[in-house]
């Protein structure tokens, strides 16, 4: 039960959505965009967020697409995780998605919602980081397209009135060999202690990880060094230097165990794939 009052909008166009948002801002009130809304509901119940308005984007037509068009896989931000898993034909994306929350919850959680989560995990982004996706952003001046590496994490890079509409990625990349592992405290359903997605694309090993630090990471330097390293242990010994922020130490796991698991996963990837590169 959400104890405070709010206004709920389901605009049909992105322009309307932005107008409503701007209207609330101009009145010094807090609007919030929602697509699945699950995290907002949970947090609002505990008063961790108290928006004056929910602007539900799922009635806006473009936010629903999940298709291959013009050589690109295009996924709208209000596409549910389960829909994306089934209709993207992207094996790694499907595998990653199916380890997020529960099957039933994934009927409500959306791609956009997962990427914009306030939690560190946001695992649906990992395949998108590996495929150097582009993000189509709605802005008051119209849609703009940006490289995912320039706009993710959204909380650090997006401006107040910008919001993700779609993600696009090269359709040719989706069938490349992939690797996925998620380590949890115990039940597989838990948040990850650490999870790693990797793809083998044109003699490259691409690696992205979640749960290790405050944000999901694409680890480009590590990818290069693994390929060049004579001894994988050399990379592993200094693995913390590849991380932009401290390893998380919390009730899910202490940082030393996280690091241990992460090193082990990277070692597995290197051993299994290095020869093939």
């Amino acid at each position: 039960m959400i104890s405070f009052d709010l206004q709920y909008f389901q605009p049909n166009t992105i322009e309307d959505a932005i107008n409503i948002y701007e209207q609330f801002i101009s009145e010094n009130k807090k609007p919030i965009y929602a697509s699945g809304g699950t995290e907002i509901i949970s947090r609002a119940r505990r008063n961790e967020v108290q928006p004056d308005a929910i602007i539900d984007l799922k009635n806006i037509p473009g936010f629903h697409k999940c298709e291959h068009k013009a050589g690109k896989l295009q996924i709208g931000s209000a596409v549910t995780l389960n829909h994306a898993a089934t209709h993207s034909n992207f094996p790694l994306l499907k595998t990653v998605i199916q380890s997020i929350a529960t099957q039933t919850a994934r009927n409500k959680i959306t791609i956009g919602g997962n990427l914009a989560s306030s939690l560190p995990y946001r695992e649906a982004v990992l395949p998108l980081l590996l495929t150097d996706s582009t993000i189509v952003l709605a802005t008051p001046k119209g849609a703009i397209t940006k490289n995912i590496h320039d706009v993710f994490p959204f909380n650090e890079h997006l401006k107040e009135l910008e919001l993700m509409m779609e993600v696009h990625l090269d359709s040719k990349l989706i069938k490349h060999p992939h690797f996925w592992i998620k380590k949890t405290k115990q039940s597989q359903i838990n948040y990850p202690i650490v999870s790693v997605a990797a793809m083998h694309i044109d003699n490259e090993i691409r690696i992205a990880t979640s749960g290790l630090t405050a944000n999901p990471l694409r680890m480009k330097q590590l990818e290069k060094d693994i390929l060049q390293a004579v001894e994988i242990e050399d990379c592993l010994d200094q693995i913390e230097s590849y991380l932009p922020s401290p390893i998380i130490d919390d009730m899910i796991a202490q940082s030393d165990y996280r690091l241990f698991l992460f090193k082990q996963i990277i070692k597995d990837i290197a051993i299994n794939w290095k020869g093939a590169s």
């Binding site: 104890s3 008063n47 380590k183 405290k185 115990q186 039940s187 359903i189 838990n190 009730m251 082990q264």
Partner: protein, 778 residues
């Protein structure tokens, strides 16, 4: 072979299956009553602090608020064993999540909104987060007035000036002599934090006070009469003026065996002039504000001869009872009286303490201290086996307790009051394929290991625990069974109906059981806890059936012109023993037998029966001498895991139980009870715990982060029963409800300790714990 029973020992379908499968049953909170008010709590954000101010002014500004109640409105402590807990915190708060104020409003949303507006000013106090800290000489005293609290139940020994809520001592034999006889000794310490019951239905209660003074309570509880008793005692209400109604209960596991929300709902109703007020826990409140599963720190020393014969044992149990003693004081005693597990030991000493800490307070959890003590004792048995280089099962077999031996509290065991633990252990050894190897390696580098645990438990009921049954008849000759046993999912009402069907030789569909309980219409019953209902209420059913049969035979003898002794009851008839074709249907006598000329004799047949435990005694405060329960149900369990040494993860492959049930009344129901218990035990042992921050705040009061074992992760369950009858049990049956839980943590920890080659001494057994234990960091 001829089956001597018609209904006992048969897979009789649960009587509540269809209703439940269709979602038609109504639990306490499934009733929406016009005009009902809603209460919501404001709870403490501090684990230990003086409350210097409670500002309720902003809460009153919310529309729809009827009343706001704080500790000052009822400044008296309550509690089932030791009255140490104000229903709403006064002057200080002792745990994170403690109720501080209640807001009553027209809607739940208004009540929640208003409760959120209450501002409490705290002055932080040092926080005690473990029972060992609480035991330290210089520890802050959580209850300054411990000496002034009223002892509700004989045998609770609080120590004023300390954080000890209860101290139970066991002194059997001569411990010094025991150590002298010992050729090997093992000593180890164990610990785990509080966890939760996490029944799916959060606790909920409604109270209305009628103009004539009657207090009408509807609540999800395991003890409707217990609610009545405590409300009467603490609020000075005549017991006869309290009516407690318990609809279907959505799981309990011991957590609904005590009284909390009912007090708050009563205070809320009283503050609104007696209006009907509902209070329903959120999941977070249910996990943290309401009582939890107890934690423990234990140190055990075990002595044995070199052949493995146990010679002496010393136990120190420091239970983490949390901020208030509630039933924690009873569990610390229950663990002491059965401290040795099902092993013969002549020289035993045990000091078991229920310690106050600044954690949420504990109440009974399925097994009542026994899953906890068994984890500790069964790890010790494996440590000893390792030291002696003996097979763990062989070591246990060499030491099992049996008729002729005595328990830690010196109760003499006989062929009836204890089951056959040897047969259980041998069965479980077979079930888990022990002889195929306790430790094997798979081709992909995993390690498969097996671990066992043997266990026992007596009921630790009060010495006057009782149950009653009323039988009335319908004009179609069918019977209504009224009994205050609470159906919490365990199938108790089906089992009671089966016992009645057997006694009356009457078809199950002719027996109508009232599943809901109402203290106005059902005879008194202690509580539905302690695996005692089949025994207590089952015996009451037999007594009531005997009473009804006696009446039926008497009227039947008038109708059939013979002596009552010539007759028997069965198949809905009263018939001549030697010529069953001469009979009269029960329906023709149940409401009075009418002669052809209209004259009627007999009146209504009303069967009544009750049973009370007998010969139980309080235990001696210095030695523990005494009889804590009528009998000991025994069993053995085993677990097989597949362990991955690269990252310390594991899968639970198999879990086996063999239990001496005395007599299995309903095999499918009994097996599902066992599996459910095994699940709960494995889930607790492998992942369930509260995580506290350094301020004593619970970080995971939700299923999102309070991990439970999920459907895809269950092992293959194997359940077998041994049947050594309990002479005074109904058809020989022993209590079995809790027992599936008891040995699971010990068996899992033993299996994993073998797998990881590291002695695991903490719960829950998460991969990170194993990793740290191997590294020597635990």
């Amino acid at each position: 072979m001829k089956q001597p029973f018609t209904y006992i020992g048969k897979d009789i379908k649960r009587i509540d299956l269809a209703e439940k499968a269709q979602g038609k049953v109504r639990y306490t909170d499934d009733t929406n009553i016009a005009g009902m008010l809603h209460a919501k709590l404001h709870t403490s954000t501090e684990a230990h602090a003086n409350i210097t101010e409670i500002d309720i002014s902003k809460a009153w500004e919310i529309a729809g608020v009827h009343a706001i109640i704080t500790g000052e409105d009822f400044p008296f402590p309550v509690g089932p064993m030791l009255a140490d807990r104000p229903p709403l915190a006064i002057e200080k708060t002792r745990y994170y999540g403690e109720p501080i104020a209640i807001v009553v409003a027209d809607t739940e949303q208004q009540a929640k909104r208003a409760a959120e507006q209450i501002q409490v000013t705290y002055e932080p106090l040092p926080i005690i987060q473990s029972p060992r800290e609480a035991m330290k000489k210089d520890a802050i005293t959580i209850h300054e007035n411990l000496g002034s609290y009223k002892v509700q139940v004989e045998g609770v020994h609080a120590v004023p000036g300390t954080n000890i809520a209860n101290h139970t001592k066991i002194r059997k034999g001569d411990i010094e002599q025991g150590w002298q006889q010992s050729e090997v000794m093992v000593e180890s310490s164990f610990s785990f934090s509080p966890a939760d019951h996490a029944a799916l239905e959060p606790r909920v209660a409604r109270v209305e006070i009628l103009p004539n003074g009657k207090v009408m309570v509807t609540t999800s509880t395991q003890g409707p009469f217990y609610v009545k008793k405590l409300l009467s005692e603490f609020f000075q209400i005549d017991a006869g003026n309290i009516m407690v109604h318990t609809p279907f209960v959505g799981g309990a596991f011991g957590g609904k065996g005590t009284v909390q929300l009912e007090f708050l709902a009563y205070l809320a109703s009283r503050a609104t002039g007696g209006k009907l007020v509902r209070i329903a826990n959120s999941r977070e409140e249910d996990m943290v504000t309401s009582p939890v599963h107890i934690g423990l720190e234990a140190t055990v020393k075990l002595g044995a001869r070199s052949d493995g014969t146990l010679t002496a044992a010393h136990y120190e149990f420091l239970f983490d009872g949390g901020a208030y003693s509630d039933m924690g004081a009873g569990m610390s005693k229950a663990a002491a009286v059965d401290c040795t597990g099902p092993y013969k030991l002549e020289h035993v000493s045990c000091d078991s303490y229920c310690m106050y800490t600044n954690h949420p307070y504990a109440t009974s959890f399925r097994g009542f201290g026994h899953p906890e003590l068994t984890f500790v004792m069964e790890r010790m048995m494996d440590l000893l086996a390792k030291k002696l280089n003996l097979d763990p099962i062989q070591l246990r077999l060499n030491n099992l307790i049996k008729p002729g031996d005595t328990t830690p509290t010196q109760v003499h065991l006989n062929a009836s009051n204890i089951g056959d633990v040897r047969a259980c252990l041998q069965q479980v050894k077979k079930s888990i394929q022990w002889d195929e190897g306790q430790r094997t390696k798979t081709t992909d580098g995993k390690i498969r290991t097996k671990g066992v645990a043997a266990f026992w438990k007596t009921s630790s009921t009060p010495s006057n625990a009782t149950a009653g049954v009323l039988l009335t008849f319908n004009t179609d000759g069918s019977v209504n069974l009224n009994c205050a046993a609470v159906e919490i999912g365990q199938g108790t009402k089906t089992v009671l109906a089966q016992i009645l069907a057997e006694k009356l030789q009457l078809d199950m569909n002719k027996i109508h059981v009232t599943i809901e309980v109402n203290t106005m219409y059902d005879p008194h019953q202690w509580k539905t806890v302690a695996s005692s209902t089949t025994y207590l209420a089952g015996r009451a059913v037999i007594a009531a059936a005997d009473d009804a049969i006696r009446q039926l035979l008497q009227i039947g003898s008038v109708a059939l012109k013979c002596l009552p002794d010539d007759l028997a009851v069965g198949n809905g008839r009263i018939y001549l023993r030697d010529s069953p074709e001469y009979f009269i249907p029960i329906k023709d006598v149940a409401t009075g037998y009418k002669y052809p000329n209209g004259n009627t004799v007999g009146g209504l047949i009303i069967g009544k029966g009750s049973h009370v435990v007998r010969h139980l005694t309080p235990i001696d405060p210095e030695t523990g001498f005494g009889k804590p329960g009528p009998q000991w149900t025994v069993g053995a369990q085993a677990v097989e895991v597949e362990y991955d040494p690269t990252d310390c993860t594991y899968r639970i492959l198999q879990a086996a139980t063999a239990l001496d049930a005395g007599k299995v009344i309903n095999p499918i129901a009994a097996r599902s009870q066992m599996r459910g218990g095994m699940y709960l035990g494995l889930s607790w042992a492998s992942r369930e715990t509260f995580v506290f921050d350094d301020q004593g705040k619970v970080l995971n009061p939700q299923f999102r982060t309070y991990d439970t074992l999920r459907l895809s992760e269950i092992p293959t369950y194997k359940v077998d029963f041994i049947e050594t009858p309990l002479i005074d049990g109904p058809y020989g049956a022993r209590g079995i409800g809790e027992y599936g839980v008891i040995g699971m943590a010990g068996a899992l920890a033993n299996s994993l300790s073998h797998a990881a080659d590291a002695e695991l001494t903490e719960l829950p057994l998460i991969p990170e714990l194993i990793w740290k234990t191997i590294k020597g960091e635990v």
